[in-house]
Symmetry: C2
Subunit: 281 residues, 2 copies
């Protein structure tokens, strides 16, 4: 997905939010905003937004000296999500369609996104999402592809969200490779958080090599690219990965909640809609 | 009021909104955003936000070639507000406290603000505001000063809002000088719209000389400054005028709805609170 005009003020908003999480030093945050302001005119609009995100969040870390500003928040989100895990598993077990319920939970987990700046309440939002109608629901296609696939490549997004991904992975009943970011960026999942959640116990965990808040193929490592190109089936979670991967010609299922109007418009849904969308299939 | 860190992304948002109102040419809007991005690092944080607003909206007009982008919207807002005028007058006539009801209507009118980017519905929001509790209500002080004053200096804000100001002016029962902006800026009122509403029939209408979306004393004309310094009583409407004038040592009554968190924090109220606040009294 290309960069839209609306993304430009949003980059400034993201820098301010991340700067505030990383430091209390207003001068450092001012320096950060000044720099991102200067960057605006240099952003190629044909680049995907997470490519600019990579620059912004790197500067947040460099200017504030805080390499992982969201560490505590990630741990809190994971702990909250893990505390819900037993009852979520029960919801799946008691449902008429275990896979669909697990898919809904995977979407629900996507509310734990600290890049967007919306308030969320994990428990309430999960409950809402379990009863929300999908704006796009390629579920039949998803089941067909899942039946055919031997292995699934599952591209993770936020840290707390991955607790919900774990539940979906457990329902897929296939060998899964779970993909994380190379470095801490916003509250996105890295190998560290994947291990904290225990995803390494049920899937092979690899880094895509991306240092952006989304999967940017140009900066991914060769090992990931090889698996990506040859995968039986790919599941991609969240907005950042959609922004990075929606322009590829590889078949992918995107699972996400459209949390900003630009992405909603790009997908052809309304803001706050939930989506299970397959492309290139 | 000084510029806060939150104002910096907001300047970009304002530029995008105003650019879109002024033109459909995305390249021009991109150029505008690039320039405002470059400007961010040069903004003195001790300046008031409308001082930067003046630069932004001037560039909107220069880059898009549209000197009054909000003209049609202003006319529509005024027409909507004028259609409510008879029933608003009736509300005042039927109320227990005519002046307080007119003050409430003047606050209600302050929702017609196109710089903030919030949706509004004039009729519904007026009804809500008529029943909303003031977060700060210096009404007794207001009445005392009004009784003592021979003449009132009334600093207007948005165009449609001025229909509501007209009702308050009619209830003040004093000689009133109504102050407008020097040039079209966002949907703020100029002499043209004041005449359209008929404010010139019940008050003397003057321009402060300000070319900003708020009263910036440094750029106001001498005639206004003379009246401002010697006024018996000053009523200032809206956020822009509060931002420009809250640092002065002249007694002023501010009437506004706090539509952004920065201004709400600065005043010591919550976002969306309504305020009648006297300073330096």
């Amino acid at each position: 997905m290309k960069t839209y005009l609306d993304c430009l003020p949003c980059f400034m908003n993201q820098a301010l939010r991340a700067g505030r999480v990383a430091t209390n030093d207003e001068k450092k945050i001012k320096k950060l905003l000044d720099e991102i302001g200067m960057l605006i005119g240099k952003i190629p609009m044909e680049h995907t937004p997470p490519e600019t995100g990579a620059i912004i969040y790197r500067r947040v870390s460099e200017i504030t000296g805080n390499a992982d500003p969201y560490r505590e928040i990630k741990e809190k989100n994971i702990s909250q999500a893990l505390s819900l895990y037993p009852e979520l598993k029960k919801k799946v077990a008691e449902s008429n369609d275990r896979l669909l319920t697990a898919l809904r939970l995977a979407v629900a987990g996507n509310i734990i996104d600290l890049g967007v700046g919306k308030e969320f309440n994990i428990r309430d939002d999960v409950e809402k999402t379990l009863h929300q109608k999908f704006a796009i629901c390629d579920y039949e296609l998803f089941k067909q592809e899942l039946n055919k696939a031997k292995e699934i490549l599952y591209i993770g997004d936020n840290s707390g969200e991955a607790v919900f991904d774990k539940i979906l992975i457990e329902e897929l009943g296939k060998k899964v490779t779970f993909v994380v970011r190379e470095i801490p960026i916003i509250n996105d999942i890295t190998i560290k958080e994947a291990k904290l959640i225990g995803i390494d116990k049920i899937a092979k965990v690899i880094s895509s090599g991306t240092t952006a808040p989304g999967t940017i193929l140009d900066i991914c490592n060769d090992d990931f690219l090889k698996i990506f190109v040859n995968a039986d089936m790919i599941i991609s979670k969240g907005q950042g990965n959609y922004e990075g991967l929606s322009g590829t010609d590889i078949p992918i299922f995107f699972i996400l909640k459209a949390k900003c109007s630009v992405i909603a418009d790009n997908i052809g849904v309304q803001e706050n809609d939930i989506v299970l969308k397959g492309i290139n299939l």
